[in-house]
Symmetry: C2
Subunit: 454 residues, 2 copies
Amino acid sequence: MSRAQERVDAYIDEQMPRWSDELSRLCRQPSVSARHEGVEQCASLVAELLRARGFLAEVTPEAGGHPVVLAQRAGLPGAGRKLLFYNHYDVQPPEPLELWTSPPFEPVLRDGALYARGAKDDKGEFIARLAALDALEAVYGGYPCDVTFWVEGEEEIGSPHLPEWVAGHAGRLQADAAIWEEGGVDADGYPTLTLGVRGLLYVELSVTALSRDAHSGSANLLPNADWRLVWALASLKGPDERVRIPGFYDAVLAPSHRQEELLALLPGQEESTKEQYGLQRLLLDRQGPAVARATFDPTCNIAGMGGGYQGEGAKTIVPARAKCKIDFRLVPDQDPHDILRKLRAHLDSQRFSDVQIDVLGAERPATVDPDAPVVQLAAETAREVYGLPARLIPMTGGTTPCYLVSDLGIPVVTPGVGYGANGVHGPDEHVRLQDFERAAQHIARLVQRFGAGQ
Amino acid sequence: MSRAQERVDAYIDEQMPRWSDELSRLCRQPSVSARHEGVEQCASLVAELLRARGFLAEVTPEAGGHPVVLAQRAGLPGAGRKLLFYNHYDVQPPEPLELWTSPPFEPVLRDGALYARGAKDDKGEFIARLAALDALEAVYGGYPCDVTFWVEGEEEIGSPHLPEWVAGHAGRLQADAAIWEEGGVDADGYPTLTLGVRGLLYVELSVTALSRDAHSGSANLLPNADWRLVWALASLKGPDERVRIPGFYDAVLAPSHRQEELLALLPGQEESTKEQYGLQRLLLDRQGPAVARATFDPTCNIAGMGGGYQGEGAKTIVPARAKCKIDFRLVPDQDPHDILRKLRAHLDSQRFSDVQIDVLGAERPATVDPDAPVVQLAAETAREVYGLPARLIPMTGGTTPCYLVSDLGIPVVTPGVGYGANGVHGPDEHVRLQDFERAAQHIARLVQRFGAGQ
């Protein structure tokens, strides 16, 4: 390791209290995109953090959506390459609040980790990148390449307005590589790099069966919104987990030979997943290679449903209205708009034309070539920083709007602060400080070598 | 009509503002049994209203349940017969509050009707009976028979503790006849008498699939509580409305010849029901005689369900917990405990042992002999007061714990204040003052003639 690299690592280590403070400040600002809570304030704060580092930062309105922060800073003289960082400043709703040990928007350090909604996803990732750049600035007096930050505010609701925004700003996103989220270490402490993300179709299904709730003594005579919804849902998928929408699987590609190779190298996550959720067995009794391979299957998941009386005790009504939220995770080459058409056609054919569909999100899946030079560089630098070889994950369960950048021909890598049990989207979300520090060190090294033309 | 009868009717008419005030006072006291809200206060108020009329009134605790008010007052010297009034002081939850024109516990007179939760069910019935007795007292100087009031506080949650209470107080309920709820006029203005009520099994089904909500990127690996519940529910009944629990229909009796005769005399309720709930057609396209006959079919009704994220917008989780409430309306000779056993066996056989059942109510159905003398007397006096023949309804959709009195061999009649569109169990519950007045006049005449030995 060179002296300069040592100084970068040491700088990041010494300044950890500062990054932790900055992350706390960012997490203290709620930014729940699902209910438009605090998004403008959070976008301003993100821009402020970037401007404080010499970035030119614009908060650009999305048509009908939440602001996007776009910030650019040139590298040192002679720097020729361009690097794009994608982040999002919005977070998932924190409910159920009663399951949090400390309030979600009051960040707290506990047992070497910072607890708050967004501590990992994605505010922790953002601050770790700033820490890496600060260290490069301190040691080298500047950045080794041109840097663009692109920080959106609708990732957690499926980035509905982002495609239109990208169409209007594609020129300013041009880069030789992009750094995305979803990386970190796995349960064994190995660094991971994610090479594929799933697409998403997020819909709300709703039924209005009556003009108002009725006494259930008339249940023989009146349609029941809850029953209508239950039967419509049961028509979509049975306990065999096979989605019954005709054509749903038509565009699904099996993993490539190279992806199969990478899957075979991944460790089992069966035991850790069972432990995390208190299970005796995984769904469909999946075991061994089937667990890792499951990310190549699309899903049809009910994220929530409700209708009628949900209070304590007994109330005897025929519910007038019911609704549910479904997220379909899609794999290459499924297209959310195609799946939506097939869902509508299926419901109609099954006599569920009374079930209304509202689309809350639509994103395509995306993959990265495992042999792209920047992927190799990220793997190599990960091994140096973590002391263990990187594990390349050909497809992850989640969704990011990565396809928007893949479409521009930009290869994507994912160094990051996660460790797989950060509680993202659930209660007690947190980031471990040790993960944060090593992610920042990894990113600094990756950026430095990328700027040097490796 | 005798002079005394005229004076009774006139008294009730003149004193309407007083009854309206008393009813408002009673409705202003919330008494939501489902969440144990205000029940003790309401029981005290009921006892106070009875004591003010010379009743000896006890508020007796039910073991583990809500208080029961038991009150007795002897008739005039020479009165030999005993009459039992059954009422309940508890009400349904008022939600959804936003659909009420005025707040549910702030009674308001509007367009000749009193609006409040409980205005009809069952506080309106109770005050109408007091009005009838007050009129008899004013005109005759006392009651023509011994009168017992039995006012419980758990009717709206299935009277779970009442059977045990009755076992301990059966001697004090003895009577030659009982007056129950569920009567009034129908949509054509004809007085109605209800001769049968359905039983009830009210259960809450719940599923815990995970120790906590998970990111839906893992939906391929984790059981989903919402899906488990949807499939369990879909196994109970399909869109053909036939309940699929083996043995569910075993004990169902077809209507008797006499009940069929009464059904054939009933007017169609098809158009009024469609109008009330904004429907083009009734469930299963029921028409003509099938509508009235439907009350002789048992039901399996989802009264409410919920699980996962129900807020605004998108949240991508695998829900850990889900639950729903089901009311089964039962007909002779179905037994709720037998149905419960069959429900459990069915869920287990369909691989839904993970679905937990909690019983929130269990009541047997009950019927009255249409040719019992007190039924004939009630029909005769109804004709006199309303100027139209009474329509005898062999079975109604709702449930009351009538079986507890039928089991004691006491015949039951149901003069009452309803008109079929009172909004009971829903928003904007109300009682029309004209219905209230005539019900009180009807009850007064019925009680007077009953006391006279007719």
